[in-house]
């Protein structure tokens, strides 16, 4: 039987094992796997789009995974089926990684209605963004109606994450102090909800303080007009503030949906997805077709050596490619 067909059927039937294997194919760097993955995605895409997609981001250690554990357990009470996709940064030196997020979601991981998949970045944040989107679709096809994407906040990845979810939530430490200033611009504008974490013990007061501060700051940034991003505090450790977070997510989603914004947003995201694939695909194609010749390497070293401007080097490559292509077409015509 055709592997893609078989897996797609099983995913649609909600089989955990098939979903897991499909994600491996989606993330695979092997060309043959990519083809299968695309076939699977093509089959299941009519059955996607029916979940609430929530992105959660923040610096390492801010408490993303722990909060997802608490939020997840809360969600499951409402008979939701939850998929969590976490993106773990690989060790850049050796390439291997320790995927630790899931150990913070110990009791959620046991739940029948939860599916948690940590993925290594392999040093390529943009690349994972690309595959995470597809993984999300596979999870939707498998019947998960709530999807959380956890990404480490290092600037670039937040943008990638925000560009594939319906609701984007940023987490901040209660004592972020100066760091706050750094995050404010740009990234904060992406956030639909802001949560100050670890509002417990000695940090409780500080968290409340940070909340007020942030609220003031958010006032000054512009957002989609009918949603004012709330600033909340929470303690995953003491299970406090979880219901409020869930309500905010739900409300934000509902408002966007009823106003038609959600549809527009998803369309815009799909367009961006297409454009990104086009660029990435073209690059892949170039490397694939020219990688073994000296053309790319030579042009690159010319640019590095300051002999040719980059734009001219690239144009030159395309010119050569096109004239080559023309001559082959001509040959065939004759």
């Amino acid at each position: 039987m055709n592997v893609a067909f078989d897996l797609a059927e099983k995913i649609l039937a909600g089989q955990r094992r098939a979903l897991a294997k499909a994600i491996t194919l989606i993330e695979s760097t092997k060309h043959a796997d990519r083809l299968i993955a695309e076939e699977i995605l093509t089959r299941i895409i009519p059955h996607t789009g029916n979940s609430i997609r929530l992105g959660i981001s923040g610096v390492p250690g801010v408490g993303k995974s722990t909060l997802i554990e608490a939020l997840g357990k809360y969600l499951l009470q409402y008979n939701k089926r939850l998929a969590v996709l976490t993106i773990d940064p690989s060790s850049p030196v050796t390439g291997g990684s320790i995927l630790g997020d899931k150990t913070r979601m110990e009791s959620l991981a046991r739940e029948e209605n939860a599916f948690i998949r940590p993925s290594p970045t392999n040093g390529n944040l943009g690349g994972v963004g690309r595959r995470t989107r597809e993984t999300m679709l596979a999870c939707e096809a498998a019947g998960f109606d709530f999807i959380i994407v956890e990404t480490v906040g290092v600037g670039q990845s937040e943008v990638a994450a925000a560009s594939m979810v319906d609701v984007f939530m940023m987490l901040q430490l209660p004592n972020a102090g100066d760091e706050l200033q750094g995050i404010k611009k740009g990234i904060l504008e992406l956030a639909d909800i802001l949560v100050i974490t670890k509002a417990d013990g000695q940090q409780k007061q500080m968290a409340e303080h940070a909340r007020l501060e942030q609220q003031r700051a958010l006032h000054l940034t512009r957002h989609e007009n009918n949603w004012k991003p709330p600033v909340l505090t929470a303690s995953a450790l003491e299970d406090k503030g979880i219901a409020q977070i869930f309500e905010s997510v739900d409300e934000c989603h509902r408002i966007k949906q009823s106003s038609g914004q959600l549809q527009l947003k998803r369309q815009a995201q799909a367009r961006a997805w297409f454009e990104q694939e086009l660029v990435e695909g073209a690059k892949d194609w170039l490397v694939h077709h020219l990688g073994s010749s000296h053309q790319l390497a030579d042009a690159e070293s010319d640019v590095i050596g300051g002999r040719i401007p980059a734009s001219a080097a690239v144009r030159h490559i395309f010119d050569q490619l096109l004239s080559g292509a023309e001559s082959t077409t001509k040959k065939i015509r004759r």
Binding site: T24, E27, T94, G96, L99, A109
Partner: protein, 722 residues
């Protein structure tokens, strides 16, 4: 005598010349060794090294107790031979204790099984593989009474290693004595009751740190009021060293834990002199002979110094008394009779360092619980030192040694630096929550592992002087299914005959007490035990109020690879992994799991960190997983292989279960490998169950990684063939 010899500076300069000649002109510094503690061991020490050492020429039995807590030490009465033991049922353990006492042992030391440690009754489904395996199973006071049958508790000092389920177990002991006719004030012995090191390394906690500290405080308070001869706590460095810490970390963390307990008791309004004299300590003694002697001397000195901040009036409040155990980690599966020699050397260090009691390990402990024969030899090691040598005939024989005094001083100073780090973190409870001390210990463990794997640190019979033919030794095997069934029967019987209303009332009162701040929980637990509540029921009642603690798993990276001294081996494995990655479209991915209540995570952690360094993607499962939970995680993460790390002999029950669950979920292509403490005779059985490879103690990590890669490939091949 005529001045026909030279001393002091003159002599030293001459020595430098002679020594340089000996090593043929290469720099003398090469004879100075760097220790893992970050100290330098010079080839020679002189009187000049004694400068500035404040505790020189102090007396044993006097502050700061550097030379020992008692004036006469072993010259009057030797240390107590106290062997830690316990297995399967209360009946079996009781028989074992009575034999040991007849053979010259002086005190008892009870090892509980892991179900009991973690507050589960033997009939709980989470502990199917654990009951009776690594200690004695205790569910009710009836078990406790059998355990101490015909052992007069008013005369016998009993040490109990219990931390998590400390309330029901201590209560059970008190009630068992009571029903033997011995009132609690007559009881002598020690309860470990050291919860902080459980979060650090030993992993048999039940509740979160804060309420657990309250329980510790309750026990200190209760015993100081009603059990004057009982040690309320045994503040333990032993486990910290066994988990991988060097001597300085062990020393500093142990004392930092101690200070935390003292502060907690004082915060409850107790006077320091009312409890501090009953605090006791417990250290490991490994193969670094001098360092270990220095550690015990340093521990006493530093504890005295640290305690002064509480202004005790009784000198005994700042006098450190300690139990010691020879290191189990230094014992090897390979060429196991060598272990007798190792244990002897370690026992000597403990004695020369001035321990108050001692456990010597059996030579087969790298493989399983000791047999009757190996236990006898272990005990005799101490008897021989006590009875056949003159080692006991003088107090602190190393006192005044230029080298030992300086080493003691250096170690104290190094420990103080680590103590400062803990202070800066806001004390040990806070530091533990941040995870820093645990990471330090794991870093040290990864360094040691790399040292051994790369041959830089030599272990005879493991990475040098290996013997070809493996020596088959007798291995104790416990049929845990039989133990479990017997225990379940007894639980049923107890539940059927007790006054259930009264039990429930006692449990409810305990719950209320846990919810209030003022009550002493031990008093309520004793009442529950009298009313025949089980260990599990008592633990659960409290968990209803406090919840169960879940640990956060962290791991170090790049420590292993940076400490591995032979890059050829490493590069080769990395190359294999790189090729696999290209062929497969992703890195090899392994889920390292711990099944059941086995809390030994040192092996799992070094494997995880080492494998990641070499290029694997590594998922780490949480502690205490069931086979079902591990399978679910492996399936979702779609790992190539599950690596089970197992140390307390649950493998024969839990691993076949895991493989079965994988098959049920259509995940037969996930390979399963097993590593850890596995007697060779179990290999065949595991392989028959479907395990692809088995890795015993001492397997270098690069070799493990290469073989696991092979295991993945061979599994893939056999799946395709199907």
């Amino acid at each position: 005598m005529k001045q026909s010899f030279k001393s002091g500076r003159l002599g030293y300069d001459l020595w430098v010349k002679d020594a340089s000649a000996d090593i043929k002109g290469s720099p003398l510094e090469q004879l100075t060794r760097q220790t893992p503690e970050g100290l330098s061991l010079k080839p020679l020490y002189t009187a000049a090294d004694l400068q500035g050492i404040p505790f020189l020429d102090t007396m044993p039995g006097q502050p700061p107790f550097t030379r020992g807590p008692r004036a006469t030490m072993y010259t009057f009465r030797p240390w107590t031979i106290r062997q830690y033991a316990g297995f399967s049922t209360a009946e079996e353990s009781n028989k074992f204790y009575r034999n040991a006492l007849a053979a010259g042992q002086k005190g008892l030391s009870v090892a509980f099984d892991l179900a009991t440690h973690r507050g589960y009754d033997s009939d709980n489904l989470r502990v199917v593989g654990d009951v009776g395996k690594a200690g004695v199973a205790i569910d009710t006071v009836d078990d406790m009474k059998i355990l101490f049958d015909q052992i007069p508790l008013d005369q016998m000092s009993v040490s109990m290693t219990m931390n998590g389920a400390v309330l029901p177990i201590l209560a059970g002991y008190i009630v068992a004595a009571e029903e033997q006719g011995v009132s609690q004030d007559k009881l002598t012995g020690t309860i470990q009751n050291d919860i902080l090191k459980e979060y650090l390394v030993r992993n048999t906690y039940i509740y979160p740190p804060k309420p657990s500290m309250r329980i510790v405080g309750d026990i200190i308070e209760y015993t100081s009021q009603f059990m004057p001869n009982y040690n309320s706590i045994s503040i333990s460095g032993y486990h910290i060293q066994e988990a991988g810490a060097d001597a300085a970390l062990e020393l500093a963390y142990t004392l930092a834990d101690g200070i935390e307990y003292v502060k907690a008791a004082i915060a409850r309004g107790q006077d320091v002199d009312s409890f501090a004299p009953r605090l006791s300590f417990f250290f490991a003694v490994g193969m670094n002979f001098y360092m270990e002697i220095a550690k015990l001397r340093a521990a006493r000195t530093l504890w005295w110094e640290l305690m002064q901040q509480f202004a005790p009036k009784n000198p005994k409040s700042s006098m450190l008394r300690t139990h010691c155990q020879t290191s189990g980690w230094t014992l090897t599966e390979q060429d196991p009779y060598n272990n007798m020699v190792r244990t002897t050397i370690e026992a000597m260090a403990a004695v020369l360092g001035g321990t108050q009691s001692l456990h010597t390990n059996s030579f087969d402990e790298a493989v399983s619980l000791p047999t009757k024969t190996s236990s006898r030899i272990a005990r005799n090691t101490q008897l021989i030192i006590q009875e056949e040598t003159d080692i006991t005939h003088t107090v602190d024989p190393f006192g005044g040694s230029y080298f030992m005094e300086k080493l003691t001083f250096d170690l104290i100073n190094r420990a103080k630096e680590i103590l400062q780090e803990i202070d800066a973190a806001g004390g040990m409870v806070e530091a533990i929550q941040s995870g820093l001390p645990k990471l330090r210990i794991e870093e040290s463990a990864a360094q040691k592992q790399a040292g051994i794997d790369s041959g830089a640190n030599i272990i005879v019979g493991v990475n040098k002087y290996r013997v070809q033919e493996a020596s088959e030794i007798d291995v104790l095997d416990i049929d845990n299914t039989a133990v479990r069934e017997a225990q379940i029967k007894r639980i049923k019987a107890v539940k059927a005959t007790r006054d259930s209303k009264a039990t429930e009332q006692a449990l409810n009162a305990l719950k209320d007490a846990a919810a209030s701040d003022s009550a002493n929980l031990l008093a309520y637990a004793i009442e529950c035990m009298r009313k025949r509540a089980t260990v599990g029921e008592i633990s659960d009642a409290i968990a209803e109020i406090y919840g169960r603690h879940t640990a956060t798993t962290q791991a170090v990276s790049n420590v292993y690879i940076n400490n591995y001294k032979d890059s050829g081996v490493i590069d080769d494995v990395k190359q294999q992994i790189a090729e696999f990655t290209i062929e497969e479209g992703r890195r090899p991915r392994i889920l390292v799991v711990k099944l059941g209540q086995d809390g030994h995570d040192r092996g799992a952690k070094v494997i995880a960190t080492g494998f990641a360094d070499l290029g694997f993607d590594v998922d780490i499962g949480p502690l205490f997983q069931t086979p079902e939970e591990a399978a679910k995680q492996a399936i979702e993460n779609d790992v190539h292989v599950i690596g089970v790390s197992t140390q307390v002999a649950g493998h024969k029950t839990l691993v076949p279960q895991l493989i079965k669950v994988l098959q049920i979920h259509d995940a037969h292509e996930i390979a399963v490998v097993v590593g850890g403490i596995i007697p060779t005779r179990d290999y065949a059985e595991l392989k028959k169950a479907g395990v692809v490879s088995v890795f015993g103690p001492g397997t270098p990590i690069p070799e493990c990684a290469a073989q696991v890669l092979q295991a993945i490939k061979s599994k893939q091949k056999s799946e395709i063939a199907k």
